[in-house]
């Protein structure tokens, strides 16, 4: 294996290799960090711009050369935003709608995913592909038909109309089903043998194992409620049922149609903050949930 000349050349190699390797390590570390910091700046800049706009006065906001640091901080914008769009009320409505719809849809998603994962029938995959197909249809078409349906049910201007139509989301059933499929079948059969009912098994075994995915579904669902705009505005115009984005859209336009953007930005910041907190606390779960669901396609 190692003839003599090979060894000496070898030694020189070794020293050169080790020096190049340490330099290589430093260079790659520097490159990774500069790339990440650069991308982070690009991603955060609009967010930063939104925040400083939210504390500027209208005149400063409309300066021809925009100021990167606000000359005077107008925290009153936040107070105005809260009162003008009565964010408190909208916030509670959105929270209520978000929580109830998330809980109900979780129940439905878990049951359906469980059935799909356990159930074996001929057309199963075809049915599932068809359901996934519905995700491809632009939502706008559903709105006009669903509007007629909910009206014939008499649900107008109520929380029901904001919650019920979107309880079933095929995507989350798909996500959870993938997760359930990873739980070995023997567990189910073993549970069956010692008499545990389906629901107990679901509660005791499957849900704990799929917890991360369930949590990420919950978070993604809540964010959906936060951003929904077209449907709530159409079916729930009464202030008692308005959601956040309705408030944001037209609470700040004066009679001539001129929008007070800084106050609107302040409102958006107030609205985004809770979501931001939710993300920070549950980040670990979202990460695991998404990867654990093993979207193996």
């Amino acid at each position: 294996m190692s003839s003599t000349n090979h060894v000496t050349m070898h030694e020189r190699d070794m020293r050169r290799v080790s020096s190049r390797q340490t330099v290589g390590k430093i260079v790659s570390k520097v490159m990774v960090y500069t790339f990440l910091i650069l991308m982070a700046v690009i991603i955060i800049f609009p967010f930063y711009w939104m925040l400083i706009s939210s504390v500027k006065s209208i005149s400063e906001y409309r300066l021809s050369v925009p100021t990167l640091f606000p000359r005077e901080i107008l925290l009153s914008n936040y107070v105005d935003a809260f009162q003008q769009a009565n964010l408190g009320r909208l916030f509670l409505n959105t929270l209520y709608v978000g929580l109830v719809s998330t809980l109900l849809s979780l129940v439905i998603t878990v049951l359906s995913a469980f059935a799909f994962a356990r159930l074996e029938f001929k057309g199963k995959n075809a049915l599932f592909a068809a359901l996934l197909g519905t995700m491809m249809i632009p939502g706008e078409l559903f709105t006009i038909t669903n509007y007629a349906t909910v009206n014939s049910f008499g649900w107008m201007d109520s929380f029901t109309v904001l919650i019920v139509p979107f309880l079933v989301s095929v995507f989350y059933i798909y996500l959870l089903r993938q997760n359930f499929l990873q739980i070995p079948n023997e567990l189910y059969l073993a549970a069956k043998v010692d008499g545990t009912s389906d629901l107990k098994y679901l509660w005791k075994v499957m849900i704990p194992l799929a917890l991360p995915t369930l949590i990420s579904i919950t978070i993604l669902k809540m964010m959906g409620a936060w951003n929904s705009y077209v449907w709530p505005r159409l079916v729930a115009n009464d202030e008692k049922y308005q959601l956040i984005t309705n408030g944001l859209r037209n609470a700040f336009t004066d009679s001539t149609g001129d929008v007070n953007i800084p106050v609107q930005m302040a409102a958006v910041a107030i609205v985004s903050f809770p979501l931001f907190l939710v993300f920070i606390f549950l980040r670990k779960y979202i990460m695991k949930g998404v990867s654990r669901s093993g979207i193996k396609g």
Partner: protein
Amino acid sequence: MVESKHKWKAWLYLAPAIVLLLIFTVWPIINTVRMSLLEGYNSMSAVGGATYSFGIGNFKQVLEYNYFLQCLGNTMLLCVLTVPLSTILALLIAVCLNAIKPLQRLLQTIFFLPYVTNSIAIGMVFAAMFNMVGSAFGGENEIIITAGIINNVIEFFGGHAVNWINAGSSYAANVVVMVVYIVWNALPFKILILLGGLQSINRQYYDAARVDGTSRRRVFTRITVPLLSPMLAYVVITGFIGGFKEYSSIVGIFGEDMGPAGAPGRLNTMVGFIYDSLSTQQGRASAAALILFGIIFVVTMINLYVSKKKTHY
């Protein structure tokens, strides 16, 4: 699997989902097909008692509309540009994030910010970054009062202000702005999925690669990417489905005219086309939606086929 005795129980669990899906998903689809086959259907006149004959008039009208191809072209162009770009960027960011320990949590949170911000604000901010105030842009009597933040940066580095989204701006400049906006919005979710995928790859493959003396680049191309391919395929497929439905981002930047002043509809997309006729011509809007559904379905089938071949294990 489940003995047949339990069959009806499984159907019972599925019942709530099926009922809701029937009412709020299946029925709207049927109604859409119905409206698309009623030639010239308009919901207002229908209330007024007008009757319509069945036929494919609506579909013909959609296909003959002289801007139909432009809308389709814009949709395709935006998809072809943004889906790969955002996927590659998300992959690079995810890999880098996965490779560092300090600052990882902070950067991860920053990269997720766009996901929690309301879309109204984003449109407003991007408009402020690219919008110019002045007159006769590009002409010799051009007056520029505000050049927009991006142009201020360009001028800072000695470049000349570019007319991104205002009257007289070029189609290319408009597309660049749209790509930046769409990618910016698409990154968080993609990074989340890919980072999740990266962390579920068994560490030992990387140890084995290191012992085999593999260079950083080859580790990336020959191990990380192939092992991530199911996630990548998923991100690309959902990316295309979402990309084909692009509309609100264009409204966010260019407003309802879907194009810069003087060139309305230049960046109109398929969903934009549907929206234009949704308020007056529901029959035509339904036909356009079904055509779009057909296109997305075909593209997704191609994607699934390609990814089946490319995805490993």
